[in-house]
Each structure stands twice: as structure tokens, then as C-alpha cells.
């Protein structure tokens, strides 16, 4: 009969209308600034640099190897290696800029980093009224402590710490073995909480 399907549809919308008052499954809107969803473990937005200890400058895990700069698909990372007065490389970035207006949150920099120095942040309220300087994050803005990393990605951070500790122990053992003939090498490499020696780029 003509009109049957229309009546069926009307009852369905009526059910949804009244259902939205009683059934929380029918009214799923999150009233954003007041309500927030808990962020998930894997959530990623833009990268940040992890530093150990309290000093964001000294504790930076980044050694300015520029692998992420090379692998970044939209080329949003810019790194300058720090050199001392004699021009010797310092294994530390002098400049580390990341343009989040270009970054596409693909996480490839995190995957390729052999030092676990760059990780994905979950901060998403980054709007800014200056679309050039405001969205270009420098080293200071990017550096965040390891406990922050633990806060946003607890499981992943624990794994990373475990791995780093194991590597450090291994490197120390190696250094100790090497220290027998040459005692000077050990302490110098183990300072600043960085991995003792740059890991060889290993296939993941």
C-alpha cells in the first residue's frame, strides 16, 4: 500500500528522537571543551623530542644523525648539527625545527629513529594566530621529558626504557671489556644518560 514505507521510516525517526533522551548509545556527541575523551595509548599527533633528566638541552636523546630529516615524507624536519669551536661534531642538534603545518603525523620519523629520541605527542590544541612562526616548533618547544612520554604512552615508554637500559648495560659491559687495555673510554661514553654509543642503524 502506498505510504507504508513512509510510515515505517517515520516510526524509526520517532524512535530515534525519543531514544536520544533515554539511550546514551543514541546520543554519542561529546561536548568537547567541557567533556573530553580519554586519549588512547596509540594516539599520535605531532612528534616531540624526548630528553632524559631535567635539562632539556643536555638530556636530549637526539644526536642529530638526520635520519628522520631524510626519511620524513613531507620534509618537515630541519636539523643542524652542533659543532664546537674546532668544528668537531657534537652529537647534538644545534637547530631542530619541525613545521607542524607541513607534518602529516605519519610517525615514520619515530619508526626510523635508532635512538628512540623522537616520539609522537598527543597534544592537539595547537592552534595559533601566526601561521608561519607559530606553527614552526623549535628545539625548545619540542623537547619534553621522559616522564611526559611515560604519561602519554605508558606501555610503549616502558618498553623503550627497558630496551635502552638493556642496550646501555650491554654497551657498558662492552666498554668494561674494552676498558681493560684502555681505561679512558668508559666514563666518557656513559655520561649524560644518552645511549653509550650510537647504535648501528639496525633493520627494525
Amino acid at each position: 500500500m502506498l505510504g507504508e514505507g513512509i510510515i515505517k521510516g517515520m516510526t524509526e525517526t520517532a524512535r530515534n528522537f525519543f531514544g536520544s533522551y533515554i539511550d546514551s548509545d543514541r546520543l554519542v556527541t561529546v561536548q568537547y571543551p567541557e567533556q573530553r575523551l580519554p586519549l588512547k595509548e596509540n594516539t599520535r599527533n605531532f612528534p616531540f623530542l624526548v630528553h632524559d633528566g631535567d635539562d632539556p638541552e643536555k638530556g636530549l636523546r637526539c644526536v642529530a644523525c638526520k635520519i628522520c630529516e631524510k626519511e620524513c615524507p613531507p620534509q618537515c624536519i630541519f636539523i643542524v648539527l652542533e659543532r664546537d669551536e674546532k668544528g668537531k661534531p657534537q652529537k647534538h642538534p644545534k637547530v631542530f625545527d619541525l613545521d607542524i603545518s607541513v607534518c602529516m603525523s605519519c610517525q615514520i620519523c619515530v619508526e626510523v629513529c635508532p635512538f628512540d629520541a623522537i616520539k609522537m605527542d598527543t597534544e592537539f590544541e595547537l592552534s595559533h594566530d601566526d601561521r608561519f612562526r607559530g606553527l614552526l616548533l623549535d628545539k625548545k618547544q619540542l623537547a619534553k621529558p621522559n616522564h611526559y612520554y611515560h604519561k602519554i604512552h605508558p606501555v610503549e615508554a616502558a618498553e623503550v626504557d627497558e630496551r635502552l637500559a638493556a642496550e646501555k648495560a650491554k654497551a657498558e659491559a662492552k666498554a668494561k671489556a674494552a676498558a681493560a687495555p684502555k681505561p679512558a673510554a668508559g666514563p666518557a661514553a656513559a655520561t649524560a644518560g644518552k645511549p653509550a654509543a650510537p647504535r648501528q642503524p639496525v633493520p627494525a
Binding site: M1, M10, F17, T29, Q31
Partner: protein, 392 residues
């Protein structure tokens, strides 16, 4: 006390008019009515927009506007302010004079149409003997405004929208008038107040409204269909046709002119709902006998009007839009024959003796026509739900 409450606005107006010298009194009386009408319906427009947005939101499982004021109920004020301060853009190719006149030409006749409706006991702004005719006459004026807007904008979409609007509104004017002819036949008057008074009284618990007779029910449904098409509401919103022709005839309007179109559309909806209430739903009469005296008559009118608005919102939230040609087919091949048969049924009802026979005769005619016409319409196009085969 209840009598005073019922006649509150009538007494208030008489008291106000009493301050003026006798020769001025008719003019002042009219001015007060006009001011009251504009005020009440502008307020109703604001309430209807927010109700519509919130209602649609709930139908679609979202909150709707809820940021401005308590539960978002000041949203229309914010919208109105926004509309007022927006730039008024006129396309360079447009016919400026007509482009300017069109929104005014849309709102003015609709406001005129409000003047003949009885809103409560003794509360018709003008008591015209040919009130229904006046209503349809001024209502037809909106078509001109719509075409003026579409043509003067020099936009292809607006032209298409205007063409559709003209075709649709003229086609549905016919069933609209023919379905109200039944009431005029039975009551024997074109005077809205007399039509309302003819629906006074109760048969047991059932009020003597026209909608509770077979021809009245059919007439009411047909009137409602034609009214939906006449006020360009979904599922007959082809002239606007957002997903097809962007916004139809008012695509080139912005700022307050756009707001006027919006308002004109809502006013048209209120006016035609008011007429449907007058013709079929007993006007300002209460649905149950014991409520007749205790609640003022104008309250009932507006309660029924809100019922109509809710129905319009519900339809809009559910149905997809018809196609232009299907709309025409529906008007001329289904609604028009139905209204003609309904006139026959109303005639039989008038001359058959009261009782079960005339109920039966009218019902058989109308239901038979509905089934036959509906089936032929679907069968001609081979429209049906389908079965599907599956490959393993």
C-alpha cells in the same frame, strides 16, 4: 474569571481603543491588530527555528544548538543579529530593483493572509465574508515573489529553482483549494469564523471537527500534502533543492534579505497550518468538552499550530525529496483525482441520512480510490522492493 482570561486580548484591545476619539477608532483597532500579529508571529518564527533545529538534532541523534543562552534557546537572537550585520550582496548581473523587491513581495502577502484567520473566540483580525477566498488570493502572491527572486538574480540555479517553484506551487494550488472546497460545501460559508463555529460541540467525547468524518479526514490529509508542497517544505522542497540546485531561487540572497525569505517561508507554513486548523481541526475549539471552558481558546489554536510545526519537522527529518516530474505526477494523477472524489464523498455525506450508511459509503469511495490510484501509480513504473541473488 475564565471568561475574562478567554477574552483577555479582546478586552485589552477594546480598552486601548477607548482612549482614542471615535472617528480614529477603526484605524487604531486595525493598527493594534497588525502590530500584535507581526509581534506574535515573529516570535513564533524564532521559536519555530530553534525547535526545528533542536528537533532535527534529536531525530539525528545529536544535541542541536545548545551554546547560546539556556539550552541554546537564544540561538535565534544570535542568528538574527548575524543576519542583520551581514553584507548584503547583489550580483553584478542582477536586476537590482526586482532583486530588492522580491523578499518584501514574499513576506507582505503572507502577513495579509494572517489577517483572516480566527485565532480565538472573537479574535479574528478581520471578519470577512469571503475570508477563505482572500486567503487563497493573497497566498498565490508568493509565487510571484519567488519567481521575481529567481529571475532577477541572474543565476542559473536560481532560475531553475524559480521554474520549479512556479510549476510546483501552481500545481498544488489546485488540490489545496479543491480539498478545502469540501468544508465550504458542508458549512455553506466562506467565512472562517462560521466554519469554526460549525465545528463546535461534541458527539460524546468526540469533538465535531471535520477531520473526524471520512471526507474530512481525506480532505485534511490531502490538504496537508498540498500545504507541505505549497510552503516548500521537505519532502517537497524542490524549489530550494539544496543538494541539487544549491539553494534554488534565493541562492543569490544574503544577509537580511535571505532572512526575509526564510521568514516568509515559515510565515507561509504558519498561515497554511492556521487555515488547516480552521478548516478541519475545529479552529480554537478544545479537543475535549471539559477543556473547552477551562483553557482559553487562543491557547488551543496555538497548541494545534505547534502540532503542525512538529509534524513538519518530523517529515523533514525523515523523508528524501521527490523529483520534479514525480511531484507533478503526484499532484495531477493522485492528489487531484483524490480531491475530486472527496468532493463527491462530501456531497454524498451531505445528502445521505446520518448513520452508519453514509460512513460506509464515503469510506468505500475514498479507500477504494486511494488503493486504486496508489496501486496504478506504483504499477505503472514497476516500483517494488526487490530480492537479490548471491554468488557463493
Amino acid at each position: 474569571m475564565q471568561e475574562i482570561l478567554d477574552q483577555l486580548f479582546v478586552l485589552l484591545k477594546a480598552w486601548l481603543v477607548g482612549f482614542f476619539p471615535l472617528p480614529w477608532q477603526p484605524l487604531v483597532s486595525i493598527l493594534i491588530s497588525v502590530a500584535a500579529l507581526i509581534l506574535v508571529f515573529a516570535l513564533l518564527f524564532a521559536v519555530a527555528t530553534i525547535l526545528e533545529r533542536k528537533g532535527l538534532g534529536r531525530i539525528q541523534n545529536r544535541y542541536g544548538p545548545n551554546r547560546v543562552g539556556p539550552c541554546g534557546f537564544f540561538q535565534p537572537i544570535a542568528d538574527g543579529l548575524k543576519m542583520l550585520i551581514k553584507e548584503d550582496i547583489v550580483p553584478s548581473g542582477a536586476d537590482r530593483v526586482v532583486h530588492f523587491l522580491a523578499p518584501i513581495a514574499l513576506v507582505a502577502p503572507v502577513l495579509l493572509a494572517f489577517s483572516v484567520l480566527p485565532y480565538g473566540r472573537n479574535m479574528a483580525p478581520i471578519d470577512l465574508d469571503a475570508g477563505i477566498v482572500v486567503f487563497f488570493a493573497v497566498g498565490a502572491g508568493t509565487e510571484l515573489a519567488v519567481f521575481m527572486a529567481g529571475w532577477s538574480s541572474r543565476n542559473k540555479y536560481s532560475l531553475l529553482g524559480a521554474m520549479r517553484a512556479i510549476a510546483q506551487m501552481i500545481s498544488y494550488e489546485v488540490p489545496l483549494i479543491l480539498s478545502s472546497v469540501t468544508v465550504i460545501m458542508i458549512v455553506g460559508s466562506l467565512r472562517p469564523i462560521q466554519i469554526v463555529e460549525a465545528q463546535a460541540g461534541y458527539q460524546g467525547w468526540l469533538p465535531a471537527w471535520h477531520v473526524f468524518t471520512p471526507w474530512g479526514l481525506a480532505g485534511f490529509l490531502l490538504f496537508a500534502i498540498a500545504a507541505t508542497a505549497e510552503s516548500n517544505r521537505s519532502p517537497f522542497d524542490m524549489p530550494e533543492g539544496e543538494s541539487e540546485i544549491v539553494a534554488g531561487y534565493f541562492v543569490e540572497y544574503s544577509g537580511f534579505k535571505f532572512a526575509l525569505f526564510f521568514m516568509g517561508e515559515y510565515f507561509g507554513m504558519f498561515a497554511i497550518s492556521g487555515l488547516a486548523i480552521t478548516l478541519f481541526l475545529g479552529g480554537w475549539h478544545a479537543p475535549l468538552p471539559f477543556l473547552e471552558k477551562s483553557i482559553p481558546s487562543y491557547v488551543w489554536f496555538f497548541v494545534k499550530l505547534f502540532g503542525f510545526i512538529a509534524m513538519f519537522i518530523w517529515l523533514r527529518g525523515t523523508l528524501p525529496r521527490l523529483r520534479v516530474d514525480q511531484l507533478m505526477n503526484f499532484a495531477w494523477k493522485f492528489v487531484l483525482p483524490m480531491t475530486l472524489l472527496n468532493i463527491l464523498a462530501a456531497g454524498l455525506w451531505r445528502f445521505l441520512p446520518a448513520g452508519a450508511t453514509r460512513w460506509l459509503v464515503c469510506l468505500v469511495i475514498l479507500l477504494g480510490a486511494f488503493l486504486a490510484l496508489g496501486r496504478s501509480m506504483v504499477a505503472r513504473r514497476k516500483w517494488s522492493p526487490r530480492k537479490y541473488r548471491f554468488a557463493e
